[in-house]
Symmetry: C2
Subunit: 360 residues, 2 copies
């Protein structure tokens, strides 16, 4: 059964339109996936998230494992049933969170021991366990367990080691995934993750390796972790001509409008990031001014008497909400302010994706 | 033009059904008014609030004056336009908040000087200023400025003084209201407030005084401020036979299901309270068990694997949300948990009100 179809391409390494198929449901790409960290896009109902045009929602394996627990989610019938998202979901592998959020006790070839921040318990995660959790969570797309090196830290010397381990763990992820598929009615798609930091030789090696394996999709991991915008762009430029056409490409952790456009123009199909919703809760929103994506803070004095309506807010109320009212809410620490801006920002990113369809 | 009509009564001092008329819009009573403190029922859109069956929403003059400011609200066309509430709104006078929340600098016959908690500024509120602010806020029902004595404090000796001052301030509220009406297209209804603490002689005197004046409605103030449930009940019993039939009666600050039922059975038409939404944000919700209103905490272990659906949650998602999922959200400090429980609790109170119509 076809999982991904390239519908239109502007040529190798350039933007393309595609379709992802999930049991009769179609998601058009490029697409931005809102993040429901613990099974909720913060402050929003899934109906509201749907209204922004989102097609896939992401859940975090690390957070769901440590809070609700995969057994509870499974008892509900999986993440979509649990959260009320009427569509496909993707879970990450937990790798990124383990390496960025948790206090790590030890990493070895087998997996990672880390500390549960909530209670100090020691928790173990490995490629096999991550696959087991993700299968139980019932996501439609699951991610291989990877060893992630933040580009913001001084650990860049770990790049080669982490890439090699990510490759070995990818094999184990595939094996465990296939083993689980034998006894499961649930048929998630597995994506492999390309690592290699900012080293182009390593990235090429990693991409070629990941693309040589029988995976359903290709993810670019380890970016958007502290590098400069020009470093990110240079890497996207470099990788663009090397993707094969048959599989979807997912750039992990990217969510700024400017980077989204750049990624799509370099052949990326899928994106996720907490930026549109996290920034919104602090009052930040995007709008297009003279063709450029500009980020504003609603808290600024310029919005105090601005009676015109924030475009995305019409998804929550037909007449919309004024900048002035939203400013008042955010400054008064009223949750609705962040909710309105979250909806606006999520819609802003989907608009960018939809533009590519309109212009094709 | 008729403002209130008694549609059906079970007899003097007993429950009754009524209708409030606002420029063609009808609100059936008894009714519970959700509180939009600063122009937002915390975490909810007004569309969601509407879905619970609410007919009137309350805004707090004190908070709106100190945050958004009445001029900004007025520029939008009033509170309903500002907040997106498609229906009538009521504002309190600020009296209760000034006396319970603010650091008071001085009270005298003229009014109250208090400290703005946000910046320490000295702010003055008087009957005249409260009327001016409420007219600018554009509410459909406004409240007289009163001197409130909390029953939880040791200031009960102030009861007589505060009642007398409330009466004098009521006269000034009416005069200022009438003066403002002369030059205004906006025609809010003015309610007077009965004070007198737990002293029945004073309460009778206050009720008779307030009812002798040309007011559109009668509010019972200063209760639900620290007295016991039996003290509250005894006072409601006592006052019930003394209300005149032609005007709506509003019991301020009451929002527990048990007290709501008791109030309705003693002839009360309108209620407001932050309890259903504030409690919800801490995980508390109501449900009927063997005919009794029971309050639960969703955080309890008993809900961990409870896959059945919380009734009120169906207003947010047709299939509803499981107790288990809501528990997970609240425990994980996800705002959606409090939002779901807020909707459920608000619906729970409207259900109580609607029962009286069904049973009539």
């Amino acid at each position: 059964m076809t999982f991904f179809k390239e519908v239109h391409s502007h040529g190798p390494g350039m933007s393309r339109l595609g379709e992802l198929y999930f049991n009769g449901k179609v998601v058009k790409t490029p697409t931005f996936m809102p993040v429901a960290t613990k099974g909720s896009v913060k402050g929003l109902t899934m109906g509201q998230v749907r209204s922004t045009g989102a097609g896939i929602v992401l859940g975090n394996t690390y957070h769901l494992h440590l809070t609700a627990g995969e057994d509870s989610v499974n008892m509900h019938g999986g993440l979509s049933e649990f959260t009320g998202w009427d569509g496909p979901m993707l879970t990450d592998s937990g790798g990124f969170q383990v390496f960025s959020l948790a206090g790590i006790n030890s990493i070895n070839e087998d997996g990672v021991w880390f500390k549960n921040p909530a209670n100090g318990d020691k928790v173990f995660l490995s490629p096999e366990i991550s696959m087991q959790i993700q299968h139980k969570l019932g996501a439609d797309i699951i991610m291989a367990f990877d060893d992630v090196v933040s580009l913001a830290t001084e650990k860049r010397h770990r790049t080669l080691e982490a890439m090699d381990r990510t490759h070995r763990w990818l094999k184990r992820s595939i094996d465990e995934h296939n083993r689980l598929l034998k006894t499961s009615k649930h048929r998630p798609k597995l994506f492999g993750i390309v690592q290699g930091g900012l080293d182009k030789k390593l990235r090429k090696q990693s991409l070629e390796y990941v693309q040589s394996l029988p995976l359903d999709g290709i993810a670019i991991g380890g970016l958007s972790t502290g590098e400069s915008r020009s470093e990110l762009r240079s890497m996207l430029d470099y990788l663009a001509p090397m993707y094969d056409a048959s599989r979807p490409r997912y750039l992990m952790g990217v969510g700024h409008p400017i980077d989204l456009r750049y990624g799509i123009d370099r052949g990326i199909d899928m994106f996720d990031c907490v930026l549109p919703t996290r920034n919104a809760r602090h009052g930040a929103f995007w709008q297009k001014e003279s063709g450029v994506d500009v980020q504003h803070s609603i808290k600024k004095q310029q919005f105090v008497d601005e009676l015109s309506v924030l475009p995305g807010s019409k998804l929550l109320r037909a007449q919309g909400y004024s900048y002035s009212y939203i400013r008042h809410l955010v400054r008064s620490k009223e949750a609705l302010g962040g909710q309105i801006l979250s909806i606006h920002n999520l819609r802003y990113l989907q608009e960018i994706c939809e533009e590519y369809w309109r212009e094709s």
